[in-house]
Symmetry: C2
Subunit: 459 residues, 2 copies
């Protein structure tokens, strides 16, 4: 899908005609994210050409927005010294991710061309465990000492600005590099001449640890509406920041993984690509599905024991052909349970439901099941009556079975994610298939029991 | 769940002792989001008291972080003039949302105490259709004219700063208030003395329309890593901005709604609360579920016609008790289909899958189903053979039925969301229950057909 269909043919023309200056000028006027889209639209080879033609600083900015595969391809095609100067200009987190994707020899070759401090910065950022806050932080922030005056601080930021991704916020550190405050640039600018950094800095700091889960860190950015979250090591030293845009990326990945989990698929590995649909062999997709599917299959075999166990009832009610109604009844139970588990997982994710509310939630959901069961049960009654006009009592059996199954399915759909949450298992791992399978078995028991009671025991 | 369990008893003590000054001082030192948490932990009445004690400006900031219910309660308890001065200090979007939650008479009474321009600003922001970009934007941004010099621009921002939520970015407008550029404050500060705003502003502007869907706007903030997204009216005039933190809220709401939809529940109304789990009566939850559940129930009745239609086969294979295997087989199909639909919906949400890829995706998923079907089918063979040791051919029937059902369920699970997407229906509306129900019916047909072919036709 081309996002800039009108531009692409003209740009192709410029590339073919060798009008490199015109092309570079045209692209430099655009937002780097926009340029990246145009480059993706141009395709692999012409896109790479366009990227190579950009002025150094623009190219480094655009790199953050193009696909990881292209980043690797472009850097591998460069002489090591040129690749090193590109890395020098890139944002610190993105270049660390890029280095992680290169093969080790190639990365060594390139890093040898960088100053030691920069090389170490890249190595350190690239070394954090995937999925931790550390693996998402960047180091191109500005720091200030608390006793600087307004003028000294502004002078320092003016000097540092070209090397920093942003100086919108400065992090105030003591001589041990412990974080003691945060100063927005505008607050510094608006301060009185004689104010020091310590006078104006914000002292109540929201921060996270370098080995915290990335989601924990991103949720803080979200909850406190932060521009960036400072990341501290075990000794409270500032080691990086997670910016709001990276926090948004983390949350997007986590939340779309919840959809996978709800479908009963294990999440892709938490590295810095997003678990691209097309990446990897089909067998890796099989690996992430077969565990749950096999487990649920084995669990599902219980349904056959249940049917066997009630065989006597089935036989004596043979004239009603109970089995005709089984898929409908247990399917409805699975559907009602899926609705409930989706609702409850969402409530937990939004912090609206806590485990202490378990009983309240189960009662609320079972009540919802009661109303739904009365509605569907009425329709079920008519349906069964139509099938067996001579046995209206059987209509009642079907209606009561639907009612019982809806109440039960909703209670289970509420209880299971809350129990998971209580036992520190991510409730998002409770999937629609899990609930369906649980309800299949129990739904059969409810159906046969009601049939037995109404049609045999008290008939 | 108390987030600050150690603080709360001490603060309660301060409130009871009437130590209001000490309390206000203690709270003023904290991040407003942090103060809001403490206030929520204090409970309804003491929390309200603490909020009332805060200095005006701090209180206005904290208001943005406390629960909507408390915002309304606190404002309703205030004399109109005091409520008006609180609104005056609050961020423009949050006060508009708050006014929307007050009853009309009360809102009028309060707004009468504000200057006309401010009243109109609130009315306008409060009037946008829920779910549009307009209903999430704020108006407390700074604007500059393009021909201002650096010094003039800085002077202007210095004067305006106290009334703006942020001056990190300024929006450059012409005399018709059309947006022509964006200037980061730091860029202005670092500019040369004689530069004008026009010389240094970013001219390639990413923006959205006031009546765009909120998700479209939020996705732009995400894709281009923006600090804020300018919102334009139909004549390209700047009417507001959506800040990155509000964009994050929108995406969180949309994505957790995807979980609901996947469970087969209609999304809550797109107003500015998040569809709180506890809000509303149980009947409103029933309303959001009964539609799909009834539709799927009626669709599910087809399974009974299918079983009826194959009755002759069932009869002649009576010794195998086919019905014993039905819940297991169709359950497995539903589970495999749910996995696939979760995977594909995620791929579409992350823009990794486009509708032009439909055939490729269906083939890939069907191949995954083939491998899964071979694995599960082998287990199914052993299971069936164990049940009917005298009829190994029946084991083959079960194995082939599982294989066929897995391939088919995966193909359907891929096809349906992609078709929805092609017909401009949100693919996230394709739920696990929908796929399960579709696969129940077709799974029965596959099972009976294979049984007929192997055990009757070619026996």
């Amino acid at each position: 899908m081309l996002r800039n269909p009108l531009l692409v043919p003209d740009l192709r023309e410029l590339i073919r005609a060798g009008e490199t200056l015109a092309l570079a000028e045209f692209l430099s006027d655009h937002h780097p994210g926009h340029v990246a889209e145009i480059i993706e639209d141009l395709g692999d080879s012409e896109g790479d050409t366009a990227l190579r033609l950009l002025p150094d600083r623009t190219r480094a900015e655009v790199m953050s927005y193009v696909e990881p595969d292209r980043q690797v391809r472009v850097v591998e095609a460069m002489p090591p010294a040129e690749a090193a100067s590109l890395l020098h200009l890139m944002s610190h987190d993105d270049r660390a991710h890029l280095v992680n994707r290169l093969d080790d020899d190639r990365a060594d070759e390139i890093l040898r061309n960088l100053a030691q401090a920069e090389r170490e910065d890249i190595r350190r950022l690239a070394s954090y465990e995937p999925g931790t806050a550390g693996s998402y932080m960047t180091t191109d922030y500005a720091t200030l000492l608390p006793d600087l005056t307004r003028r000294e601080a502004l002078d320092r930021l003016r000097r540092e600005a070209p090397d920093r991704e942003t100086i919108d916020y400065s992090y105030v550190v003591d001589i041990d590099h412990k974080l003691v405050g945060i100063v927005p640039f505008t607050r510094l600018f608006l301060a009185k001449q004689l104010d020091t950094v310590a006078d104006i800095m914000q002292r109540d700091i929201i921060s996270a640890r370098v080995d915290d889960d990335r989601e924990t860190a991103a949720r803080k950015v979200d909850r406190y509406d932060l521009n960036a979250l400072p990341i501290l090591d075990a000794s409270d030293r500032l080691v990086g920041i997670i910016t709001h845009d990276d926090a948004m990326d983390i949350l997007r990945q986590e939340q779309t993984e919840d959809i996978l989990a709800f479908g009963g698929v294990s999440a892709p590995a938490e590295d810095d690509d997003e678990g691209n649909y097309w990446q990897g062999r089909i067998t890796s997709g099989v690996q992430r599905r077969v565990g749950w599917l096999m487990l649920l299959f084995l669990g599902g075999t219980i349904t056959s024991w249940v049917i066997d166990a009630f065989e006597a009832i089935d036989q004596s009610l043979n004239y009603l052909k109970l089995e005709v109604f089984i898929p409908l009844l247990i399917g409805t139970g699975g559907n009602a349970g899926s609705q409930t588990v989706g609702t409850v997982i969402r409530g937990i994710a939004l912090n609206q439901i806590q485990t202490v509310d378990t009983l309240k939630v189960v009662i609320r959901e079972a009540s919802t099941g009661l109303i739904l069961g009365l509605l569907l049960g009425s329709v079920g009654f008519l349906f069964a009556w139509h099938k067996h006009p001579d046995y209206p009592l059987f209509g009642l059996v079907i209606a009561l079975a639907i009612l019982g199954i809806c109440i039960w399915a909703n209670a289970i759909g509420a209880l299971v994610p809350l129990l998971a949450s209580r036992f520190k298992i991510d409730p998002a791992l409770v999937s629609a298939p899990l609930i369906s399978t649980l309800v299949d078995t129990t739904g059969l028991v409810i159906f046969y029991s009601i049939a037995y009671l109404l049609l045999i025991r008290f008939a």
